[in-house]
């Protein structure tokens, strides 16, 4: 393309005017919320493929491969049962302690893995993020989906444990599906929020183990939180303990699967709390992540 001798009509423009004239956009501008959500929807196949790939990749160097997907929750349950069920004998008053413990562990693990995976979703995938352009929310969402797949495998193991410990099959088991669905929404929001925090505060990764352990002890995974109510004499603190979203999700799954699981609050109240937490964290986390979209992969 030879340069024409005619005077270039663009020659008098400043760089900014030139950009405006040809409709160039500011590099790395944030799309509107609606546009972002639409973009994310067109990338749903990528989210699913990435989540699957992560599941496969996480076991690819182990000789037993995907058998570990089943072995990991089983081994976890065995260790905790040995310490808390057999040696320390914390099961006082809880019928079917092993099933009680396993539900707590697996449900808690879903959220804790999504949260710690979320923290590293951006900071641990900088290569991918800097190489290709896609809505960044894909990565934390894929992290949640990966963990959901792990939870589903763990649930199959759990059903085996629950049946082996003599629980009857009832229609109430179906309540596991909405409970896990609400928890998945909660986790997606949590992973999105943690992803933005983790992208900025690189120190957060080191702190996460402490935060998660504290959360685990507060969620009645290994024992009933009634012990807290006995020792915390402040009713506000007791209410805070009972509103803990993880306690709510764990109790809902226990309520669905186990006949005589003790509940800290009435079932309708638990369902309401579960829905409120899912909505609050799900929507809040998404908005928070979207507002930082143009920053990811920088620095």
């Amino acid at each position: 393309m030879a340069h024409t001798a005619v005077a270039d009509p663009d020659s008098g423009l400043t760089q900014a005017q030139l950009a405006a004239r040809y409709g160039l956009s500011f590099a790395g501008a944030r799309p509107t919320l609606a546009a972002y959500t639409r973009q994310l929807w067109t990338y749903r196949h990528f989210i699913a493929a990435y989540a699957n790939a992560k599941v496969v990749a996480s076991f690819s160097t182990a000789r037993l491969g995907r058998i570990w997907q089943v072995l990991t929750p089983l081994t976890n349950a065995a260790v905790y049962y040995l310490i808390f069920g057999v040696i320390l004998n914390t099961q006082a008053g809880i019928p079917n302690f092993i099933a009680y413990l396993c539900v707590g562990l697996f449900v808690f693990n879903f959220t804790s893995a999504a949260a710690s995976g979320g923290v590293q979703a951006i900071s641990g995938n900088l290569g991918l993020i800097r190489a290709l352009h896609f809505p960044r929310a894909c990565v934390p969402l894929a992290v949640t989906l990966t963990q959901l797949q792990h939870l589903i495998t763990a649930m199959v193991v759990l059903v085996g444990i629950v049946l082996a410990t003599g629980e009857p099959i009832t229609l109430e088991w179906l309540l596991v599906v909405p409970a896990v669905a609400l928890q998945a929404i909660f986790n997606a929001g949590l992973a999105l929020g943690m992803a933005r925090l983790g992208a900025k505060l690189t120190d957060l990764r080191q702190l996460m183990p402490f935060v998660l352990r504290t959360w685990m002890y507060g969620s009645g995974v290994l024992y009933s939180v009634d012990k807290f109510a006995e020792n915390l004499h402040n009713p506000v603190l007791v209410a805070v303990v009972h509103a803990n979203p993880l306690l709510v999700y764990i109790e809902l799954v226990r309520h669905a699967l186990l006949e005589n699981a003790p509940l800290t609050s009435a079932a309708p109240r638990l369902w309401a709390l579960a829905a409120i937490w899912a909505l609050l964290i799900g929507v809040g986390g998404y908005l928070y992540f979207w507002r930082g979209e143009q920053e990811y992969g920088r620095g």
Partner: protein, 271 residues
């Protein structure tokens, strides 16, 4: 005009013969922060907690002023080479154009979304090459049907199967040249408005370099703009007709490749 209705490919000029800009850089300054510059032991959990609470910036963070007031305009159909010594700000400039680093002063305007293709564009190393092709194409926004259709031709182009069935082996078993070739093959599968290539062609062998130079030419004909960072002057000469020479974050020269390269070679041999 009739021409434009029959062809779907965008042309590189407006009907009245003006060139269409794709990247406009206006007095861009980039200062980036580097993490992990401090001594070992400053990243213990206790210190991390203390910093989070007291909001004191980590001593391990240092600022680098990498691009100092760069302005230029790139047009559709151009291939622009970026040359300069190590640490002159070439890669930083590319990352800024890609929208991955913010400008601290000035502005960068782009047509569509530029794609950066670099040496450390890591995909999932534990997964087979063919799986990475699928993931990479989906990440670029192709539909699953398109991915199924395009995947074989991309593996073919990358040439990773020339020494046996490497496409089904995990990418961590690949040589650096092979994975660079696969990454280039994936990124160049789509027609980008602006494609930024950072040393990605350097690791391939001669035959692959020839093929990828051919691919860069095709991408340009697709009315895109290609930026190429390379220390191999030969590659720049063969693929780019315009070259920008960057030194210490400032443009030393911007013009036809033959002129700029001659100045650059004089500068480097003089030292």
């Amino acid at each position: 005009m009739a021409d434009q209705t029959t062809t779907t490919r965008p042309t590189s000029t407006t009907p009245d013969g003006r060139r269409i800009p794709t990247v406009v850089v206006d007095d861009a300054h980039v200062i980036y922060r580097v993490h992990g510059a401090g001594s070992a032991g400053s990243n213990t959990p206790a210190n991390a907690l203390r910093r989070l609470v007291s909001r004191v910036p980590s001593p391990a963070v240092r600022e680098v002023h990498a691009v100092k007031g760069v302005s230029f305009t790139a047009y559709r159909g151009e291939a622009i080479g970026l040359i300069g010594s190590n640490g002159s700000g070439k890669s930083t400039l590319l990352r800024t154009i890609a929208g991955l680093l913010p400008v601290n002063k000035g502005a960068v305007y782009t047509q569509g979304q530029p794609s950066l293709l670099g040496v450390n564009a890591a995909l999932l190393n534990d997964l087979p090459g063919e799986r990475n092709v699928t993931l990479g194409l989906l990440a670029m926004g192709l539909s699953p049907e398109e991915v199924r259709r395009r995947a074989p031709e991309i593996i073919e182009f990358s040439g990773i199967n020339e020494r046996g069935d490497f496409a089904s082996l995990p990418m961590r078993t690949y040589s650096s040249g092979m994975s660079a070739r696969l990454r280039f093959a994936i990124s160049s599968a789509k027609n980008h408005d602006v494609l930024l290539i950072d040393e990605a062609l350097a690791t391939g062998d001669r035959r692959f370099r020839r093929r990828s130079e051919q691919r860069v030419r095709e991408l340009r004909e697709g009315a895109g703009t290609v930026f190429l960072v390379s220390h191999q002057i030969g590659t720049i000469r063969e693929t780019c007709e315009r070259t920008i020479w960057l030194e210490s974050g400032v443009i030393r020269a911007d013009g036809p490749t033959s002129d700029v390269v001659a100045q650059y070679e004089e500068y480097t041999s003089g030292k």
